[in-house]
Symmetry: C2
Subunit: 661 residues, 2 copies
């Protein structure tokens, strides 16, 4: 049985083994090095990678020039000059005036700066005195820019593999290299497949999926120095996919065959690859991204010795996070190899994990996290882990690699984060955990314009206070109703942050009420209607202020939670419960006015609540939070928040309480 058939059934080998197989196959095909070179003008060379060492073609400067305005002389003629026995040198014969940069005349090997000499029988300008008087000997080669001071012809100017920066282009031009040999950009075919796909931007019915992986993969290829060709979507039809791949193999260096999202779509890719060449890898033990397929296919019509006879192909998984990570894991190092540059290395920072994370022991997992420094600790918070949640990559400050053989990580464990941002950005981050509110998005925007950065994650109001107690956040947004006092937050702060010095800072008052389908078709008039059998409800998670608010009022009105259909269904944000109403999945939910308005839904206002920022004193007084406190004082920010429906900015920036009192 040929290797290609047997390996169709391989699954989830370690990443190193997958790389080893790909490397070996590329070596055998003569594709484990620079692909080739282009000669480009300096105007088009920025960011390209030198394909060979560059040696200076001429020296820079290419002549001995004056480094100051002054008189070019033979130093030996001044050797005896002294204060007591000055020497006069005749202009034209023994001294020649030179501006900075001018060439020294033959025989001159030093420049006397104008301020160091006296003119004798001065003329109208520096060139027309009769002579100059010198009272000090000039050292040979003083105030002279000698030939080759910067570069000597034939010297190594740049090594091969250098990504060309602006100053490199200057050095090349200075030493006479106006065209430079740079690595050819590898050409990469990006082929999206899947009958369920529609081009992004076109209307998509339920069950149809906008195709955007090819946008991400193509942009990755471009940013790593390749040339991407995005193919049209190919439906799930073996013959059409195979012929598209075979055609792409003619004139591309690499093929990225993006599987659809349906289960088995990657097996499809595998059998097509096996039919066109050798299947090397079918499944890699990484998460997200394990259904990666790797192969080498025959290049149609390759002329032996001129073009390589095989083309590597990656079957890229369909889920967007898997697809993007496959790019980072496989495509970036390959393009670096082919252009001869050093692959980009993520910087790392060590920090403390805030939450326990389970992991599949057999896989290398790439956990997306946010990172910030809170006091002395760097705090690392896991983001959503689903392979479909692309925003987890967008919001990630970096990745934690959980190695195979590790079942998971404990809260409080020390982890290394491979950063997507600079360590300086991590240092600058203000970490907000707690209840999410739209004003936090606006606040983040205003802070960004001041060079500061707010990173927030929604863990509910109680979750935020607990995070503060553990030293995992600088502040927590909170709207926890105290059933005893009817006031917000203070009782909870006393309970969850006992003895801790904390400032409770007002942000907004906001309306909570029932989010309803537009026009309120089921005629919901109040909380009591939630118990109607024809009403489906969706709830917020335990610990959220909205949940407490609901429970408080249900109790006041004597409405048992178990009489509400959907009381047990939990979502984590105002927008997601509103989306559930918008989709018709449920009839109503408790939430804020702005969320209803955002999705064009009906809203029945019921209560007002205060949303505060709870800030431990040491952070409140720290320079890091100063920009945030300043933003709360600006008219622009108050107006932007006041324009949101259901928001009252009266409490904004007011210290509600300092605890302990």
């Amino acid at each position: 049985m040929p290797a290609s058939e047997s390996s169709v059934y391989l699954h989830d080998i370690p990443l190193e083994e997958a790389w080893a197989r790909l490397t070996r196959a590329l070596q055998e095909a003569g594709l484990w090095g620079r692909l080739g070179a282009d000669a480009v003008d300096l105007d088009h060379a920025l960011g390209r990678v030198t394909a060979e060492p560059v040696w200076a073609r001429r020296s820079s400067p290419h002549y001995h020039g004056a480094a100051m305005d002054g008189y070019a002389v033979a130093a030996s003629a001044t050797a005896e000059a002294s204060e007591r026995r000055p020497i006069d040198l005749r202009l034209g014969a023994e001294a020649v005036y030179v501006d900075t940069g001018e060439a020294l005349p033959d025989g001159a090997d030093a420049v006397l700066p104008v301020e160091d000499v006296e003119p004798i029988d001065p003329g109208p300008d520096r060139r027309s005195h009769r002579a100059i008087r010198v009272r000090r000997p000039a050292a040979p080669w003083s105030h002279v820019r000698a030939i080759g001071e910067d570069m000597v012809a034939t010297e190594l100017v740049l090594p091969a593999g250098q990504v060309l920066r602006p100053v490199d282009l200057g050095a090349l031009a200075a030493c006479g290299v106006l065209r430079v040999s740079v690595a050819r950009k590898p050409s990469v075919a990006v082929i999206p497949t899947g009958s369920e796909l529609v081009p992004a931007g076109e209307a998509a019915a339920p069950g149809e999926i906008p195709e955007f992986n090819s946008i991400v993969l193509a942009a990755q290829v471009e940013s790593w120095g390749g040339l991407a060709t995005r193919f049209d979507i190919v439906p799930d039809d073996v013959d059409r996919i195979r012929s598209t791949v075979a055609a792409a193999a003619k004139d591309h260096d690499l093929i990225l065959l993006n599987a659809g999202s349906s289960a088995g779509s990657e097996d499809f890719s595998a059998s097509i690859i096996a039919s066109l060449g050798d299947l090397l890898v079918h499944g890699v033990a990484v998460r997200p991204g394990h259904p990666v397929v790797i192969g080498m296919i025959r290049r149609p019509g390759a002329i032996s010795g001129r073009t390589p006879s095989a083309v590597p192909i990656l079957g890229v998984p369909g889920f967007p996070v898997s697809a993007a990570l496959t790019g980072e894991i496989f495509v970036e190092p390959l393009l670096a190899r082919w252009t001869g540059r050093t692959p980009a290395e993520a910087q790392t920072v060590d920090g403390i994990l805030t939450r326990k994370v389970h992991s599949s022991a057999g896989d290398l997992e790439f956990l997306r996290v946010t990172v910030g420094r809170v006091g002395e600790r760097v705090v690392v918070s896991p983001l959503a882990r689903g392979a479909g949640v692309l925003t987890s990559l967008v919001r990630a400050d970096g990745l934690v690699h959980i190695p195979p053989g590790v079942q998971g990580l404990e809260a409080g464990e020390r982890v290394t984060v491979h950063l997507y941002r600079s360590p300086a950005e991590v240092e600058r981050a203000i970490v907000a955990l707690g209840s999410h509110d739209l004003t936090l998005d606006l606040l983040a925007q205003f802070l960004a314009e001041r060079g500061s950065r707010l990173t927030s994650a929604n863990v509910g109001s109680l979750g935020g206070l607990i995070a503060l107690s553990r030293g995992e956040a600088h502040l927590a947004g909170s709207h926890l109703l105290d059933p005893e006092s009817g006031d917000f937050n203070l009782a909870y702060v006393d309970r969850y942050l006992p003895g801790r010095e904390v400032v409770v800072l007002g942000l907004v008052r906001r309306e909570q009420g029932l989010i309803l389908a537009q026009g309120n078709p089921k005629n919901v008039r109040g909380l009591a209607d939630l118990t109607r059998s024809d009403i489906g409800f969706i709830n917020r998670q335990r610990g959220s202020g909205t949940r407490l608010l609901l429970d408080y009022h249900l109790k006041r009105e004597g409405l048992p939670p178990e009489s509400i259909r959907g009381y047990d269904r939990e979502e984590f944000t105002h927008l997601t419960v509103a989306a559930a109403v918008a989709s018709g999945r449920v009839d109503c939910a408790l939430g804020i006015h702005a969320a209803a308005e955002a999705l064009g839904l009906g809203f029945l206002p019921l209560f007002q609540e205060r949303y505060d920022l709870v800030i431990p004193r040491e952070h409140y007084d720290s320079p890091k939070l100063a920009p945030l406190l300043q933003v709360l004082e600006t008219r622009e920010f108050r107006e932007a928040v006041a324009a949101l429906p259901g928001y009252d900015v009266a409490p904004m920036g007011k210290v509600i309480a300092v605890r302990p009192p």
Copy 2:
């Protein structure tokens, strides 16, 4: 007297004050913020900066879809299912087969994975069974990708000021944003001036200077997100420069007026700016780069309220290092401001300075340095400081900022380096100090291809041994002749590194001889001819192996150094003495064959010498040096060195001695 005239005479104000004046003027002109926005397709958005926050236009996913292949059901219908009392659900009516990604039918709110159910009266495929048997209740929304799992319509997807990465483009496409508003690219006119300039690449006579600053400035502008227009060289003619600047002001956001290298050329810029608007700054207390000129000039034909009525202009100094640093100091932050992104921040590393550095106390100096880790210490070595030495920027690993008020830095002082490279690259560097040899350039190239990095500086053979004794280098290239024994290096190692465990590793034997004008027009036959009165000589610096070799043989032949014209002139490399011969400045010099050959010069072989690598044991055994030792074993490297004229690779890789013996 108007402000513009009085300020012509200002000089060298602190950098902060210069920025404050520019900021104020830009604020008054309404130019202290984003310049404007372009709407671009995602295909053209990579690397652009969002001009406004982006809110999701639709939810992603936009429907409830199956997260696995299975049967969509109403979870409530399975609530009573158990192992003992399984429930059968009829296909079509109570359960519908769905592939991963398919939309759930109305009423379904959970997916039962195929492996969790038994088919009843199985059909030929999963869609055609009569019923399925369920033995466990399904949790509502299990195995369902719910609407908005990734993004909910109206949610903030990206803030303004985000530099768009591949995954950001994916997120935009996923939520229905196919065109995105990005900051308009600021247009920047780059105008080189100076009658001495000729376009780079054209033949340049002595006194003519190839113009390449505009290449560097334009590339900087492009790499910082602007659009550069390179103007033709304008000679030193006030009227022509003024009319060129005035024309450029019509359709550019910023003008970079690059002064010539002649003294006073910047004053020229200043008076032209003053005549076209307001001169704000004439001289900034930074080195290199202090003759920076800053102004605001009137925009011809500006229609009030539509286009700004003024255009900022920077008079950029003529020396190449000054010009490039002016770009970094002023242009980069301004373009960042105008596009709304956070300016790039250099990473920093702290280290120990290897040499004393004097600095002008009034100025902020940007000292170019190389950086490497040697043992426990990060070692920071100053590079050439002349504003004309562009290669000092090309070779720099970073800058040390010497603040105004500081007269200089001591050897051994702790300094902070603002890096041009990643800290990982710094960690990887092998630091070679000592005598320079062409083979080190080749070695650097071979190491680069293995992902390692050799950084070398020429301090002469003795300087290298002293650097080793101070722990400032991993290895030193050395060819020091011991006049007693006639052997190389060992006696010096014993003297300069007493008691230190050191490996002396052979690299090459090479020819030294007299480098002569082609054809040997003065008929030089040996060392004795150096004393002829018609022969001009140039020497190597004290401490260099070549100098020792010369002195040894002069003594043997009884030739007094003072009888040699030019014995006191010192250069630091083989190539620079060869260049001195090539230019006709001197008649001969002692050096290696390869240097003569490189510049097409004559060569009279006189001696053979051994060039060794002196490596302290702890570095010799360290993993960092392993790639270097490997390269010395490769056939490719030996062949490349053997191809150089005058080189014998017999000693390569052989341990000559281990000291102490």
